[in-house]
Symmetry: C2
DNA sequence: GAATATATTTGACAATTGTTAAAAAAATCA
DNA sequence: TGATTTTTTTAACAATTGTCAAATATATTC
């Protein structure tokens, strides 16, 4: 996949949310810059401020931080690096790392805000993205709350089988709120 | 607090997000309707579709659902009843209940969408609300993941002492992902 | 204020999950 | 391919949390 293909993927992605005119899409696209990421490369590290949004068509990012005991906790697999930091301007609580080598388009917060003023549709797009992110978090919360670890894992298998296939189990475990050893036991007891 | 006061509280609340002209605020206000809720009254029940946003200046709502075993799980204390259902149009997964008798202003989704067309600022307000809700969920997620129950409780005490004071502990426990008995033990061991 | 309902705590025990250290399996890289 | 790194599994044991049933405490209602 090269820069042009990625651009087309972005176009398809945006179509799911809103119809942009060709001019609007060009306006937006011109402010995105293309970049290659190495596997394990960090998009952002904890304490840094996140001032951009990333689009990618291949691969996931991993969000992680360290708890009180210094254990690494994976909190999400997503594509907007530290959305909270992006919105608030506060330092990011999470590290965001490319799970595989990938190509991305990135746009800065300030450029995006300029576009809001120029194009109403682009602001509407931003609203719908925020809504989608809110829905995503709510879904993760719902998964975590009030279910046993086994149920959580089964639900993830059903709803996001691609996660289980492409993401190391140690990170899945963390996303489910358990240790990798616990997940391993659960997998054993299921099969 | 009467209808007029609630309206002023709404004005103050909105100011935190965006400056609306007096005309825009009137436009918005006219579509909100005033309503009194009894303690324990449900704003929405699971399986219903949520087609409105609520504003209140006094009191919380409780979001809850039942897990596989029929145990009641409290997932949030918030003021937009089932935001996911509101956005997607899908049936709500949660019940939303007034924690105390309160007065609210409510606006329907269709009215709100009409306003988006009439006023750009009101759409911007909607974007900022979505962003705030996304941040809220992320914060809750972060609290749940990778910390012991005791740490979670202490963190909640620090950051949201008003929750501990005004919300029954059984619901707090659930919000922290544990049983009321566990929370009771934790409180005992802390004091 | 007494009666009733709701919320919180307690204790004994069971089940789940975490911890540690090590082995086995799989993936990566030169 | 072979060596190295990373990931996953295993096992024994410890710690945490859940379950159930009952007692206490608190709040609500008439």
């Amino acid at each position: 996949m090269d820069s042009t293909n990625l651009r087309e993927a972005l176009r398809d992605y945006i179509k799911k949310f809103i119809h942009l005119s060709e001019e609007e899409f060009e306006l937006l696209c011109d402010l995105f810059s293309y970049r290659k990421l190495e596997k394990r490369e960090h998009l952002i590290k904890a304490q840094e401020r996140c001032d951009r949004i990333i689009f990618t068509a291949n691969g996931y990012f991993r969000f992680y931080h360290w708890n009180d005991k210094g254990i690494e906790i994976t909190s999400d697999f997503y594509f907007v690096p530290s959305y909270t930091s992006f919105l608030t301007g506060d330092p990011s609580l999470v590290n965001v790392q490319a799970m595989e080598s990938m190509e991305v388009l990135e746009i800065s917060k300030s450029d995006l805000e300029k576009l809001y003023v120029k194009s109403r549709n682009i602001e509407t797009l931003a609203r719908k993205l925020a809504e989608m992110i809110a829905i995503n978090s709510e879904r993760h919360l719902f998964l975590l709350l009030g279910q046993t670890a086994e149920t959580r894992y089964k639900e993830l298998m059903e709803k996001y089988p691609q996660y289980i296939q492409s993401i190391p189990l140690q990170y899945i475990a963390s996303y489910l709120g358990i240790t990798k050893e616990s997940l391993s036991r659960i997998r054993k007891s299921i099969h």
